[in-house]
Assembly symmetry: C2
Homo-oligomer: 493 residues x 2
């Protein structure tokens, strides 16, 4: 018999009940169903509800009608459909299928799991010196809210240009010219979903399994993972006080397809690559037909002087793929990055972006375009520079005051983080320090995971963009206390 | 001598002028520069400006200081930096580098160019029956604006969960349960940048070059391109009046990794797959260890009865990857799609999403979550269903009234487009009709490009979601006039 479960509209209850009856073979294949009037009378429901339910099951293929003889259960229903139902299970039994990943998928999972392991450090800490945390202030939020209202009332609903909104690309071309001396036309700019997608696109456009990529040692993990995921071999190039030294690369590297660098503020060490090195790198790239990926992730923040000219500005239409992002200067969840490309790469990169997601969401691209156009972005950067400069000074002063000769600070003239190198280098010291700090609600982050080979120094990263001034000061005091206690304890053993 | 160019702040003019002088070897490697007082006097500028410029070039590595003896041009500057400058070129000469694409990149470009060729049909036409155009109405825009203001003032700035915002995934799980009888936990849902990214992720997780994929013939091009881009071989499976028939697949297909289907409203033909076929497909998939990608792109719009249960609802925890999107039901530029995955795929798919872009932008995910939660999305769908139902009826009636027996209409019971099959099938007829229509400002779109093999019927697609009612009626009249004129002309020859 058909049972009603009491949930939702009557005709839906009827459809469900009828479907159940058919599957349980109360009505068998080919069986004639009661007429709609009759069923309505039996169940004490309206005939319209029965007709609607029959229509539904006809459409679904459970039922068929034969001219002038009525409504029947389809005799083509496969066996599986007719198994007795398990309570709580209205479908076929789950088959035991494995994931069957491709080599591609396996590599990606492996690379991702390594990287995500790092991200797990993140906790809810009161004094969290996490790197890369930025948050817009009240003024910027209000401005974005205002611009969003304009944009959403201005018909930004159709697919945009997959390479990015025209106005945003124009504004970014202007921004690059003013701030980084990089001269590109708006057509050479492609908007990406953060710089991570830009790295993934570079990897897919340039690399087949076994191809080589030169990477800074230590390096930004996200880059390494993107390259490893497509099966590339990583050639590490030691970073000294001037960043990556292309002169030190041996002949193996000459066949590399890409070299990835962060010249403005090397990630994670924070060193700045001087112009001489930049020009040497361009020469090496041209001689070896290698493209340079210049990841200029935090050049907006600079404390002692203007940022150096970008590598992309030293070699126009040359071998440089410039990566920028608004996710660091505004906020990470924005997921808007961009690439400035030499002309010969515009087409294949645009094709790839079209293929993989048809372009970024349009509304926030327009909001950003208007934010830059109105000067709001410039003002935002000035306010953030002032805020971060204060935080940086408090951090550096605090470290000097409380830890003095025990540590060496590097990378403090740009960006939003510093590296603290420890003079203590017993095995396990940093791990213990990090763990002790955590108990005091202080978050600091080891530099070691960014190295392929075990480094000969040990140290940790401290971001200073995500904290209030008082939290910086207090956090450093707590860190110093942990450091002293731990050193003393180790000294006694 | 140092020349000032008059652009921007004085110290920047000085930096540029000094840099130029060094590159032109007015000051040679190792040369001592004038003291800051002296240079300030020579150039009639403030000493502070000179000091700032010197600092900048020291930071850039052009200059070095030696204790107590002054400021010098670095003697480590590489030769290339010192070439005489060309007017208008402040950097190294552009080297002639080619793009050097990987096999991966070449395949992607090839696939993308085919697909983008299709997209080029798009023009600015008054009566454009383009497929897939949707636009929110006034009520929805106001609601989104209101929700955005809430969300942006509610600290949605940090990286979110790469798999998607928790609240949105909860809301979508509820939506899937209510509308598609698909039972998944929020953890089984991954938010993607439109369904195109979902297809790309499927391709990368499952396919190595040479792996096989079963595709409907004809099929949605975006799927074919995503699979071809990773080097997969496509096995076309003929679509009849009930959609893809897995019983017709020969033994070759048994080794396929994936089968891609659009059972709710086959793209492009519009046919609906009955339940029997759905169950057969699941059985085939389980027996051959093939995953089914169920692209449920437009199931929100249904005109005669409720949509059929999704394949994913018939086989819980089985071999089905369900794809849904808000880009079709709300607007394309939103770029929010989602996948509902069997449990064994949650981890590798989540890894891939993390790897390629770290997750969708957060703000609009939250806006959507609240839009569904508040019932606004439900109301939006009801209004759109009413609007599209009227448009669809006007279109179908118009075609019947004006073209009657000349055409056959299919796929009109769901979605936002119909297929019009022409009884005229002289070679070139459709192309000429499309071209004639365009001159009358009417956009219709050929079905042929969606086939791998040349089809034995000819026809065209007409979307009806992007037009006002009066435009539908007038557009059909113009189309019919073009059709009659062209038929008469061909009849005379």
């Amino acid at each position: 018999m058909i049972s009603l479960d009491g949930n939702g509209p009557l005709y839906q209850q009827l459809s469900r009940g009828l479907r159940r009856s058919i599957r349980q073979q109360d009505y068998r294949r080919g069986a004639r169903l009661p007429g709609s009037r009759e069923l309505a009378r039996q169940l004490k429901v309206s005939r319209n509800a029965v007709l609607a339910a029959y229509d539904q099951l006809l459409a679904e293929g459970y039922l068929v009608t034969r001219l002038k003889s009525g409504t029947f259960v389809s005799d083509k229903l496969p066996d599986d459909m007719l198994l007795a139902e398990q309570p709580g299970n209205t479908g076929i039994q789950p088959p035991a299928m494995t994931a069957q990943l491709s080599r591609n998928g396996l590599r990606a999972s492996k690379a991702a799991r390594e990287g995500r392991g790092l991200a797990c450090f993140k906790r809810d800490l009161r004094f969290d010196f996490e790197y890369g945390v930025t948050r817009p202030d009240r003024e910027t939020v209000q401005e974005l809210e205002r611009l969003h209202s304009k944009v959403i009332n201005d018909d930004a609903f159709d697919y945009g240009d997959p390479a990015g909104d025209t106005l945003l690309r124009q504004q970014l071309a202007g921004h690059l010219q003013r701030h980084r001396a990089v001269t590109v036309s708006p057509e050479q700019i492609i908007i990406t979903s953060g710089s991570q997608q830009a790295l993934d696109i570079c990897a897919r456009v340039f690399l087949d399994p076994g191809d080589q990529v030169v990477l800074e040692e230590p390096a930004y993990q996200g880059a390494r993972q993107a390259f490893e995921a497509v099966g590339a071999d990583i050639i590490p190039a030691v970073v000294d006080q001037y960043g990556l030294n292309s002169a030190s690369l041996n002949a193996t590297a000459d066949t590399a397809k890409l070299v990835y660098v962060t010249p403005s503020h090397q990630f994670p060490t924070g060193v700045v690559m001087p112009v001489g090195r930049r020009l040497e790198l361009i020469n090496w790239a041209v001689q070896t037909s290698t493209y340079i990926i210049e990841d200029d992730y935090d050049s907006e923040f600079r404390y002692d002087c203007r940022p150096l000219e970008a590598i992309a500005s030293l070699s126009q239409a040359g071998p440089v793929i410039y990566l920028g992002t608004l996710a660091k200067s505004l906020f990470p969840s924005l997921r808007i990055g961009y690439m400035a490309l030499p002309p010969q790469l515009v087409e294949p990169f645009g094709d790839m972006k079209w293929l993989i997601d048809r372009g970024n969401p349009v509304i926030y691209q327009r909001v950003m375009a208007r934010f830059i156009e109105s000067g709001g972005y410039e003002r935002h950067l000035r306010r953030m520079n002032r805020r971060y400069a204060v935080n940086r000074q408090l951090l550096v002063d605090g470290l000097r005051d409380h830890l003095g000769d025990h540590v060496e600070i590097s990378g403090s003239n740009a960006g939003t983080h510093v590296v603290v190198w420890s003079k203590q280098n017993q095995p396990g010291f940093i791990e213990q320090l990090i763990s002790d700090c955590r108990k005091q609600h202080v978050g600091i982050y080891p530099i070691e995971p960014y190295y392929l080979e075990k480094p000969d120094r040990c140290g940790w990263l401290m971001g200073f963009s995500g904290l209030e001034q008082s939290a910086v000061t207090q956090g450093v005091m707590r860190l110093a206390e942990c450091y002293r206690l731990l050193s003393r304890m180790l000294g006694r053993h």
